[in-house]
């Protein structure tokens, strides 16, 4: 049986000030994959995620999450933005940031209660940050901040996770810890879409990959399409990647 399609994108075009950033993208992401989006700087990787999540208005095209528009499927989706997209000197604690993951299910005005706090604490524990729960967020290291963001998405208890460079600027220990959590999520049947920069680790971490450079170059299982040919097409130079055996 064909797997269900978690995210399907048709003819998506996005432009900033008349310059196309994404051009006519068609993409079908099957349920249950751990997918990397790779491509050079300015390829539109973050933009693709932001367009799917409705943060950026596309010029043309349609996006469906399990067959329905995003605004009807919000509770199925969680988002981990780039760490650098927020001001970490904001006056709040780690626990408070993670609790923000419950705000969507709470809706307007209602305040988080004991149930939400419990969920946030569990997520903090999962990412190994429980002992930092009352720490002011500016006093966390880069890797710890990334874990906090991951915990905030875990609290959303979604089916599809979008992550924008979760490994950026984190140390080896944090990278390992994060990838273990991502693999656990996939094992639980979740779909994960991750903007990724380190080509060396793609075969080790991911089972699905999309090559992107304004246009979609290729998408499919890592085992069959992660090769020099697609890398060269995407990065524009004669690319050789040594895949470790």
């Amino acid at each position: 049986m064909e797997p269900k399609i978690a995210v399907s994108i048709d003819d998506l075009t996005v432009a900033y000030n008349y310059k196309p950033v994404l051009w006519d993208i068609d993409l079908a992401i099957p349920e249950g994959v751990l997918m990397a989006i790779v491509g050079p700087n300015g390829a539109g990787k973050s933009t693709l995620i932001k367009a799917i999540l409705g943060i950026i208005e596309p010029i043309a095209g349609s996006i469906a999450i399990y067959g329905k528009p995003y605004h009807k499927q919000r509770q199925l989706v969680a988002y981990v933005p780039q760490k650098g997209s927020v001001d970490w000197d904001f006056p709040t604690t780690a626990l408070d940031v993670v609790t923000m993951g419950t705000y969507g299910s709470l809706g307007w005005i209602k305040r988080p209660g004991a149930k939400q706090k419990k969920a946030a604490l569990e997520a903090l524990e999962k990412v190994g940050m429980l002992s930092f729960k009352n720490r002011q967020i500016s006093q966390l290291s880069g890797g710890q901040q990334q874990r906090i963001f991951l915990a905030r998405a875990l609290v959303q208890n979604a089916s599809i996770y979008f992550m924008d460079e979760p490994f950026q600027g984190v140390d080896a220990t944090t990278e390992k810890a994060i990838i273990i959590i991502l693999k656990e999520l996939r094992k639980a049947g979740k779909t994960l879409i991750v903007v990724h920069h380190d080509l060396q680790t793609v075969p080790e971490y991911f089972d699905w990959v999309t090559f992107l450079n304004v246009k979609k170059i290729a998408t499919g299982p890592v085992s069959s399409i992660f090769n020099d040919d697609n890398l060269t097409k995407t990065y524009g130079i004669n690319y050789k990647v040594s895949v470790q055996e």
Binding site: K50, T92, T93, K110
Partner: protein, 371 residues
Amino acid sequence: MNLGEYFELLINDYTLRTITLGTAVLGAICGMLGSFAVLRKQSLLGDAISHAALPGIALAFLITGVKDSNVLLLGALVSGLIGAFWIRGITTKTHLKSDTALGLVLSLFFGLGMLLLTYIQKQPNANQAGLDKYLFGQAATLVVQDVWIMVIVTAISLVIVLLFWKEFKLLLFDADYTKTLGFNTRFIDNLITFFIVLAIVIGLQTVGVVLMSAMLLAPAAAARQWTNRLSVMIGLAALFGAFSGVFGTAISATQRNLSTGPVIVLVASVFVLFSFLFSPGRGLVFRHLRFRKNRRELELKKTLYFMYNIAKDHEEISHPHAVKILNNFHGFTRATLQQLVDKDWVILDGSMWAITPKGYKEAQNLYSQNT
């Protein structure tokens, strides 16, 4: 007038009581809403909006012909809001960055306002005098009715802030994420902006167009130094703002010819200066002291480690050594030696020293502890 007379007046004098109450309430609401502006990195928004309010005041007078402060402030509210939404429009619809948009709106509206003010002053109408008080503010013109309006606006914004606390916090921290969770970020943003404009407008009569942004920023900037919690920051900012209002009014009332608005702003600035220097967590003084203390502690431990290296080569760690041999060691002084003795890490006997078991253990753990 001395302070005793001032307090007597405060209780008995209608005008002074009104002004003090008014500036206190104004300071509180500005501190509260200013915190949002500061955390959104829109510190200059207040400046642009207050300048943008000026043509509204002039136009309201030209259209109605009356100098009732409520009518004029309604005009200020409308043109302040137009300014605020132009700033938003310019940043979202053009390539221009927000600082350019703020500058453009500020100078355009202020220029127009000044033009209209000059035009009004040339009119053969005895009623026109005094509109320029909105430039620098004149607290003495506050009446009880104005204070009531301030109290009502403050109460409403307090309710709104409490009601939408979660949404405001989320938007301030991470606007994109707020959007993905399904909140209408534009609505939340408009709500914050509307109340900031409202706070500015009700302060124009007291503090004036030119200095109004300081009322918004100074208490918030000071409060940020003392806490890492949003709720405490906003509460403190309101408190600092209210105190600035009260102290500023008191100072200007006890001296001759001191205009209230600027004095309030100066008092608020003193809060900022004091906070930047002396707040325990972020203040410059304590940061410097902590830095010095850490450095001294490290020097001390370095000396101890040097002694430990000498002592560990002997069978008995308590074997005494001459103080002289330490002299080659960089950074050693009599004072450091005495501090080591005080900590019970070393015993000193005339010109001889010996490491104690406690000091030996401390030196052993020095590196494992730090990593």
